[in-house]
């Protein structure tokens, strides 16, 4: 691998921004946001520069590495602080810094009335730095630092307004559920070191060939556990909806475009493990399939615009995970959907933020309506995102989602038919709930309160939305034109020959579009023809009730983990005092030969304790003497 001296600046610039803003405190209130935005943009341009260098080299010469210093070295456990930029990580670098910079710009205006705007920008920069470390680290342990770093940034940003207790709780929930996933990453690293003696990507890749399937499967399953936490996949999905407590730009950047896709990165990065561990791969596919349906179903019942979008994110990442589980063919498609999703979902979240901004912080879509007239730019940019996520040609999702559906069908046998059907059905449900959001927000009659006066957002906010909308329109075509992304990534992935074609692409596209049309039609019939209630109706079916409660995910976790855990804790606290300490006190009392409690005899009897101890000592020494002789 060629070495580079400049990779570290990609991370160092935003990291310095975070440090300066946090250490300077209020003194940097006036210019902090500008510095943070500038540093994020600088990272983006550095990323473009790196891309241009890569393009000028041949395929094999493209990956570059940089060793910074020796981090941990004990025995054969030698970890350098090292970075690696290859065809896969450059995609993420540009996504993170590109979308990240747009969201910095958007936030200048969005957060302008917040007294803590500087702190917000410090956290954003911290996030960018940690996320870049996640995708640039050259070993699993370096990745781990970024992995928990983005978790920290996410925690700080979800709880940005943590003076509200519910928001503080949401941030804690996200951190704890992520830690369960992180445990999986720890296990994966430990197993890798115990079996292969290395945890660097190149080392593990080389060693994987000689490693037993059992070990690779164990590593793969643990990596999947890590991915489910970070990417809000079943069964660790429950934190994402609550994470919407964070300011909307955060939802767009961290909880839609970048951090939550880290699980997809981890799996594609570990392709050499999953390719050799079919069982782990199958589990990946199952998790993806379950989550894509899970998120889609929740999405149908959400009245909070951000939570509807969050459910959609969960579902769309389900598609990516499923795609990644269909490697080696699926890896590139998962990444393609990840990139297009980064554009359209970030765009829609910013659109939602624009709506929320114009509607006095109202998030309930039942209280919207007819906003098309008041917010034309928001409507247009959101609309492009909507068409993209539906997969209407030629918008971005059409290319990326169809590839995953196609790959699912082509994965063969019953499995292919089931997976293909699930992805198709998911596309239909997606069309339904997104159309519902679209109709309730932008069309029909207005349902907002009298004191609300919706207005279009200022240019600092709509400009990033417009740029992302351009991405929502064009990115799919650009990435798939001449198989651009697939070819770009191909040196990283083993090619295992072509799969049999189960259905021709045209048929898949036709089926997908039919499903989308059905979903859209149902939504129109349900929400467009009659007036929508400004208050969610309560006389709904049991299914709607369950979907509104996020398919009972919180109730399940509370009943199965939280309450038993709390019970165990309180029982242990009591027994620690009563039994363990009690036993010790009892022994103490017996030794003293007195019935008085420790508390009763304390200070005055210290001398008699000492005497007793001396007697005991003599007795013990005598006993040992006997043994020794």
């Amino acid at each position: 691998m060629m070495s580079s001296h400049s990779l570290v600046y990609l991370i160092a610039l935003p990291l310095a921004g975070a440090a300066i803003l946090l250490l300077a405190g209020r003194r940097s209130d006036k210019w902090g946001h500008l510095l943070a935005t500038g540093l994020s943009a600088s990272s983006f341009f550095l990323g473009l520069y790196q891309l241009s260098l890569m393009l000028s080299r041949s395929n094999e010469q493209r990956p570059v590495g940089q060793k910074l210093f020796e981090w941990i070295s004990v025995g054969t456990f030698n970890i350098d602080a090292g970075l690696m930029l290859d065809q896969l990580s450059i995609c993420f670098v540009l996504l993170i810094t590109g979308v990240g910079t747009l969201i910095h710009i958007y936030s200048i205006s969005y957060m302008s009335h917040d007294p803590d705007r500087r702190r917000f920008f410090a956290f954003l920069n911290l996030f960018i730095a940690a996320m870049l470390l996640l995708v640039l680290g050259d070993s699993y342990l370096n990745l781990y630092v970024g992995w928990e770093g983005v978790g920290l940034a996410s925690y700080l940003l979800i709880g940005f307004w943590n003076q509200k207790l519910a928001y503080a709780t949401a941030s804690k929930k996200a951190f704890v559920m992520n830690r369960i996933g992180d445990m999986g990453l720890s296990f994966a690293i430990m197993i890798a070191f115990a079996t292969m003696g290395t945890v660097s990507f190149t080392g593990v890749k080389a060693a994987a060939e000689h490693t037993s399937t059992a070990a690779l499967t164990a590593i793969g399953i643990m990596l999947l556990l890590a991915a489910t936490g970070k990417s809000a996949q079943f069964p660790l999905q429950a934190w994402l909806g609550d994470a919407m407590a964070g300011p909307t730009p955060v939802s767009a950047l961290i909880h839609a475009a970048t951090m939550v896709t880290a699980g997809v990165y981890l799996i594609t990065r570990s392709n050499f493990i999953f390719d050799a561990a079919p069982t782990a791969q199958l589990l990946v596919v199952i998790v993806g399939a379950i989550t894509l349906m899970f998120g889609a179903l929740i999405g149908t019942a959400k009245d909070d615009i951000k939570k509807a979008l969050a459910a959609s994110t969960m579902s769309q990442i389900g598609y990516m995970i499923l795609g990644a589980g269909l490697g080696p063919v699926g890896y590139a498609f998962a990444i393609m959907h990840l990139l297009t999703h980064g554009f359209f979902k970030a765009g829609m979240f910013l659109g939602a933020g624009s709506v929320i901004h114009g509607m006095n912080d109202e998030v309930n879509i039942r209280k919207y309506g007819a906003l098309r007239k008041f917010m034309p730019i928001t409507f247009a940019t959101f609309g492009f995102g909507y068409l993209a996520i539906l997969g209407v040609p030629p918008f971005a999702g059409f290319y990326s989602k169809d590839m995953i559906i196609e790959t699912a069908f082509n994965s063969g046998g019953i499995k292919g038919i089931i997976l293909g059907s699930v992805t198709l059905l998911g596309a239909g449900i997606t069309a339904f709930y997104m159309t519902r959001v679209m109709i309730l927000t932008f069309t029909g009659t207005s349902r907002w309160d009298e004191e609300v006066h919706p207005y279009e957002s200022p240019w600092l906010m709509w400009l990033p939305m417009a740029i992302l909308a351009v991405g929502s329109v064009t990115s799919g075509y650009l990435l798939s034109h001449g198989n651009a992304l697939v070819n770009w990534l191909s040196p990283l992935f083993e090619s295992h020959g072509e799969h049999d074609e189960f259905l021709p692409p045209m048929v898949v596209s036709g089926l997908a579009l039919a499903m989308v049309a059905i979903g859209v039609a149902i939504a129109f019939l349900k929400y467009s023809r009659s007036d929508v209630d400004a208050v969610a109706p309560s006389d709904v079916s049991i299914f709607t009730t369950i979907a509104r409660q996020d398919l009972m995910q919180d109730r399940f976790n509370e009943a199965v983990f939280m309450r038993p855990g709390q019970l165990l804790t309180s029982v242990l606290v009591k027994t620690d005092e009563a039994i363990i300490d009690g036993a010790v006190r009892g022994v103490g009392r017996a030794a003293m030969g007195t019935g008085a409690t420790l508390r009763g005899v304390q200070s005055g009897f210290v001398r008699s304790y000492a005497a007793l101890i001396l007697i005991g000592a003599v007795a013990l020494i005598a006993a040992i003497w006997v043994v020794v002789q």
Partner: protein
Amino acid sequence: MTWLTLLMALPLAGSLAVAALPKTNEKLVKQTALATTLIVMAATIAMALGFQRDNVELQFVEKYSWIPFFGINYALGIDGLALVLILMSTILAPVVVLAGWNESHGGRWSVKTFYILILVLETMMIGVFAATDVFLFYVIFEAMLIPVYFLIGGYGTGERSAAAVKFLIYSLFGGLLMLASIIALYVMSGAQGGHTFDLAALSSLEMSSTTQDLLFLGFFIAFAIKAPLWPLHTWLPDAAESATPGTSVLLLGVLDKVGTFGMIRYCLTLFPEASKTFTPMILVLAVISIIYGAILAIGQRDLKRLIAFTSISHFGFITMGIFAMTSQGHSGATLYMFNHAFSTAALFLVGGWMISRRGSSTIADFGGLQRITPVMAWMFFLAGMSSLALPGLSSFVSEFLVLVGTFTRYPAHAVIATCGIVLAALYILIPVQKALHGPTTPGNENLSDLNLREKIAIAPVIAIIVVLGFYPSPLLKVINPAASHVIAQLGFNDPVPTNGSK
């Protein structure tokens, strides 16, 4: 040059200087104490610069006959392990003095007495790690109880006398068992070539496995009380609850490390076979401590008790790393001892400032501090992140080394212990949420943020936590040779990669 004696003499001289000062001039007393601890720290660093990293023999060796009749020597010497722990102690001392500038007020005795006790304790902290004569070690080990007993009982809060007595009884009991073992060793040495208390000489004694097991237990129980291992831990929460924050830092940060230090220096060196015999049992106790300490921490309502229970969990990690008998586990455990001192110091000191301002140590009495006292809240948060071993902070490196080092030999133990990282997130984030987030709890509106002295005191602690997170190499290079030496002496090699075939 007699570096180690000099290091021990300096704080003692400082305590004499303090004793000579008038009782009424409290400021001068504090300044003298602070100056003394700073000089000791500088001297320790100067000594450390002359330490040969790759030399596994004891360095800075001194030996003078003390009680010739019994073959007792005043013998000192350090390896990488002892050096790191002495560094840790002497860096913490000035931090504690500066951070707890006012915590000696309102004690049973004068401010002057408080600092005399602290300085005398510092001498002993250095001596206990440097001693290479088993009897000298024992004397210091027991003598340390006296200043700590008075620091808790005289300057603490709440039921300080009861807590101090409980601490003393536990420790004396452990010390008694150790004394019995030491005397037995001494007697045996007489039969095998001459009475001695010299550690190196005693480690080559011939003894039956039963004898070795019994004597091992004498030492081990004493150490397992010091670095509380479940179920010998119940004195610690009481002591930490009653002691002043500074005392707690020295107690948990330094004194308890004598326990884990002793396990390596005495248990493993003197009784290699018995160590192997008892390893399975000790590992189980360590894993129980990790999980049990974490769960108990989650259940605490008192901030100081909570921090004490997190330490019980951390001592479980250290003990597990020691007895995993791999270079990663061993080096990790040693580094853990150092790192734990600073993250716990940060928690106790900042927690102590919160408590003294609020006049309560009940977590529920806080609330919304993030917006009232942002700097203090941030410091507490950072200390908490270090305690839960966030990657990028120092404790992550040591905790992960312990886990990976344990996993290669004892995967099941490592797997259960790893669950502790989820519990750690809970025991930190629950108090963080209750104390720092949410609306302002009535009674907190007028709390003041950290003053300059407090910021200066906490800054080096935070700096160490952050810098060692990214760059632990300087310490690891000192620790590794010593750790590998111990492992090799016991006849262990690191497990080789299995490629998954069992």
